[in-house]
Assembly symmetry: C2
Homo-oligomer: 182 residues x 2
Amino acid sequence: MISRRTYEAAQRLTREYLGRAGIAITEAEAAAIEVADFGLDDLDRTGLQLLVYVNNDRYCAKELVLFPGQTCPEHRHPPRGEGNPGKQETFRCRWGRVYLYVEGEPAAAPACRPPAGDEAYYTAWHEIVLNPGEQYTIPPNTRHWFQAAAEGAVVSEFSSPSDDASDIFTDPRIDRTPRVAE
Amino acid sequence: MISRRTYEAAQRLTREYLGRAGIAITEAEAAAIEVADFGLDDLDRTGLQLLVYVNNDRYCAKELVLFPGQTCPEHRHPPRGEGNPGKQETFRCRWGRVYLYVEGEPAAAPACRPPAGDEAYYTAWHEIVLNPGEQYTIPPNTRHWFQAAAEGAVVSEFSSPSDDASDIFTDPRIDRTPRVAE
């Protein structure tokens, strides 16, 4: 579990990255930035920072911030009852660069490696590179993971409604429930 | 109907405004910017520029650009069959300032006036002011219109799926079908 100090430092750094991307946020939003360590307590390697703008029963929009080289671990958004094949999401790179890996034809020479020691939990190797202004839509129930380039990345996510608790991660150690030491 | 020359000049200006907001777009997107004159051929007063990022059967995201003082005329998004109460949309100001008017308690001293001569077609007077980083969600089937401040405005719209052709405008002269003189 990450410390309150680490959590708040990551919130401040996230705000800086949003600023570099020219994205204005309110004070209330700055305080609501979520820092996800996925229960691994290793934020420099595995983590994701999120600012949810809106998440209702019809659509969701958020900003994702990745620090340099940071990885969001492999997961999928499973079906959620009749007529809901699972969350569908469109990633649009706003700043920096993000490497996205999804199920499909594996890249011959992928640009990224998973965090050392965690290789077994990274199985999707079809590579999509997103520079600012480029976007990609991930189909429902499709395994995917992503990693920022050396400068980090700011990515807008447009999607069907979001329910992080239902995400299925390849790494069984992962706990997506937001937690921070008090 | 606006001329091809006017249309393309508005596309170029839209790209400039997106740049001021720090928003990167691809060349293909620049060419796909939609200029809506609503059939009134009076773009300086009534109009809206749009760049649709994604519009599928689950969600929609786009950027809206308003030139200085430009007005998007009053309309609503009606119900569209069982279980669909009409399009719901969240406006998030990215740059500049936008005045949004929706059904509800009228502003005592609204900041905006409709385009002169068109007053009869503007009936919603509950005022919401959006500066960069501020957002508002417009319920389905609710009459609304919006106008940019003197510097113009760039607004992200996150919404349920978009079908502009089903919009109902208060002004019966309005034709939302995209048209440009060839």
